[in-house]
Symmetry: C3
Amino acid sequence: MDLIKLTEELGSYKSDLHGKDFLLTWEKSEDDLKAILHVATILKEMRQQNISPRIFDSGLAISNFRDKSTRTRFSFASAANLLGLAVQELDEEKSQISHGETVRETANMISFLSDFIGIRDDMFLGEGNKYMRQVGQALDEGYASGVLPVRPGIVNLQCDMDHPTQSMADLLHLVNEFGSLEALKGKKIVMSWAYSPSYGKPLSVPQGIIALMTRFGMNVELAYPEGYDLIPEIVNVAKSNATQSGGSFKVSHSMTEAMRDADIVYPKSWAPFHIMQQRTQLLMNGDKNGLKELEQVCLANNAKYKDWEYNEQVRKLTKNADALYMHCLPADISGESCVEGEVSKETFERYRIKTYIEAGYKPYIIAAMMLTNRFSNPAEILKKIIETNARRVL
Amino acid sequence: MDLIKLTEELGSYKSDLHGKDFLLTWEKSEDDLKAILHVATILKEMRQQNISPRIFDSGLAISNFRDKSTRTRFSFASAANLLGLAVQELDEEKSQISHGETVRETANMISFLSDFIGIRDDMFLGEGNKYMRQVGQALDEGYASGVLPVRPGIVNLQCDMDHPTQSMADLLHLVNEFGSLEALKGKKIVMSWAYSPSYGKPLSVPQGIIALMTRFGMNVELAYPEGYDLIPEIVNVAKSNATQSGGSFKVSHSMTEAMRDADIVYPKSWAPFHIMQQRTQLLMNGDKNGLKELEQVCLANNAKYKDWEYNEQVRKLTKNADALYMHCLPADISGESCVEGEVSKETFERYRIKTYIEAGYKPYIIAAMMLTNRFSNPAEILKKIIETNARRVL
Amino acid sequence: MDLIKLTEELGSYKSDLHGKDFLLTWEKSEDDLKAILHVATILKEMRQQNISPRIFDSGLAISNFRDKSTRTRFSFASAANLLGLAVQELDEEKSQISHGETVRETANMISFLSDFIGIRDDMFLGEGNKYMRQVGQALDEGYASGVLPVRPGIVNLQCDMDHPTQSMADLLHLVNEFGSLEALKGKKIVMSWAYSPSYGKPLSVPQGIIALMTRFGMNVELAYPEGYDLIPEIVNVAKSNATQSGGSFKVSHSMTEAMRDADIVYPKSWAPFHIMQQRTQLLMNGDKNGLKELEQVCLANNAKYKDWEYNEQVRKLTKNADALYMHCLPADISGESCVEGEVSKETFERYRIKTYIEAGYKPYIIAAMMLTNRFSNPAEILKKIIETNARRVL
């Protein structure tokens, strides 16, 4: 790929990412999203060409994980590192939701020499995204008051509403698989619920997918057993996006019907919105018995839909019997990681490498979010780096 | 600020920091302390001017925290990072006090490619500062024997006696608030006990403050309810410092009386010295029941002094009803983080941003301690870096 | 030392380390091992001459410790850091042995921007080295499929069979103590069991020592109380190595007899192979009672051999009463870290600094393994770095 050409193309977007936290994809314009995809593409190509994308000679990227994570933790660390930042972890009590002023104070205390804060807070409905905005307000005030030398940018590493680094990585994967963003117009993508022997998987992945994929003229279908609803407001965002982009958005309740002629499938489990609401209440009250009971009810309910498994039979209903299978990983693989799961062993194996490639875009997406947050003219900065042509490895 | 001028001024101090650990401020000369403040000022200004202060192309800074910490951990990591070092954490069993030879061995095992070790050990009276010196001796021997290529410098990140990074950051804050070190002469600063619903807060902050602020001709008053004594030897250090610097040092037992006409106030809780002695014994014996009983006794005792709260009424007794309020954070804020605490909600809010600015000097103080420990001619090194003018961020 | 000369000498070895994981020393040729020692020597000398060995402008080195470790963790971090890599820790559930596909997936998920993975997995007999190869296969596939931009190299930081970074550091220490690798020919080195009040120490250190030291024409004697056998296959590897190198290998059952005229002694405790097999079973079954019983049996058995202590009497049997005492540390020191142990207080003290110097080679050995894994022509790369002559510290 011609890096200089790619950089020049970047200049054509009218994006408004500078100085703004990336919290929800639906708060960003189409050009914002395209700019992120474009910068990620440039950074990935620079890796291939052994060009060092180092922008910072020093500085910290804070990782604030309020939930377990390996993959996103690594993606965040990889992204920070390629730009020249060191990662410092903020280790908090995970069971407390902080009081307002503690968030405000801590946000400043960790930011004196920090450039970015990556936050993952997805366990409590109504709390995660809210916490990110609280941190943002604290940083705004700190910067305006002269407490902080820069206003660190916040990257949403998954909240209760959206998972932008995941959905944007997924989108970049689709762009590469189908050739371009334009080539995705009219393609049918099915975000489908799938059976899982565990419960409580976050809503932010399916919500992130329907909210993002409806931005680009795709025909998006959301399929789930009756009762497994997502957050209604976000479903409405998807509907409205689809209308605006000339695509379509449909909700249905049969996996097999939905999968018919699909170009892209994303079968993944989640807990119903109303269940996650109950779970949040119980977690906040520390009600261990209540949680155990809820788990039993959910697992029993899930068990009614064990046929919602993506397998060879279902695959054969898709376009050319070869719809691109997607998953944020790890998947519940029937006969491998569990007895009955989201996807059968043979079908997963057929697309396994593709799912790894899908995952591989995430560090570059995160780095793109950081870079565009920091520089008002990312094209100029990238051009400078490419021309300097420092080696990443000797 | 003119960085080259600042660097030249630095050369005028007759400091003796090179190759010496920074363990207690009262072991350092006045020029030593001025040099640290000066280097911290230069490093902070370099940040403003986007000049990279990188001195190390590689190397480790070890963080050895024997007690919980978020803020100081971040300050240490920020300081190491701006100079070009990677932080590596030494994760030890926190409940054991190591045998002599294990300390000696471990100190060497972690130092083969390390440049600094930051140690926080403040829980056991008589042990923390002692441990730091043990480590220092082990490093001296390792370096002298050819085991280590350099003798890593030790930075005291809080011990049982002093908290130099805190008190030095506080002093630099005062220098900036009042205009110069000379302008502090004759100012009244009150280090006062304040009520807290928790017990066992370390003595090292009030001890560090009285020992340092008496060095510069200030009128330092230490106020606490009878019985809440600090370590007598350190109180004597403060007395003697005050005499030498032409200031004064006074102990009193009424918060309101002490606060009268104060220019600077530092209301903060601590546990009495004799209580901390008992607590150390019980902790070392693993006597959980004894600890619980001691806690009850202390909380009951504290509760007699709930009126030792810094609030609007007390503020109005200070100079121009606007003494600079200081706190190492987090403060116990009445009606916010607790029902009754060290400071009222309104009064804390009035000075909240100031306390954040106060905290913001710490990374630069730590970096200054590192730099002056490493280089016999810090002015020369800083001049070189400023002239090279490498960008911190593109 | 003349670095350019050392680099030219390096070019004379016919090593085949490029693109190959370093898992067992006995899978490497003599020239491979010599190249590693040589590169480590160059890197250590570069440190002395303040030359920065930075090869990477960014990149991650993953540390995957499935067992507690301080020293090796620090050595790995130091090695990664001197080459320019940031360390990212993979925090896994330590009690589970992962399913095949989870290893395969995780290996890729952490490797998108990683250059090396250091793995320590020594608790389960038959599992550790196997896991490392599984990871290797997953990385091979990831790289071949275009998932990963490079195939990260794996460094064995101790497995159930070998501890190559330890034995190679030990060998480099011997080369420095005796003057050259050739000078080691004909020297008598005794790898002896020694009493310890704890049980379950890994077999990989004695196994690593006998398998490596027999490569260079030394007379290697393995001494232990009857029943304290190592893994038979590895004992056979040692026998066969000794034959090939013109040295010798002998097994005996008396510490004092073995130590007679020894040039080098390595008294260290281990649990018998068949005990470690039982322990692995019990650990895998989570059988806490079974483990407690096994521990009792083992401690009782160990107690029969308290006289297997290296002390002044035994030292006096060695060559010139001054055999070089070696230990991977920490040692069980009678009268210091325990009542009765592997070595007496006085004897350990006599050689304590030597054991620290021995340990100090490990970071350079690890860095050498990384560098030779990455570059097909390490001599050329090192020459370039030496000529560029960038300062490690200003």
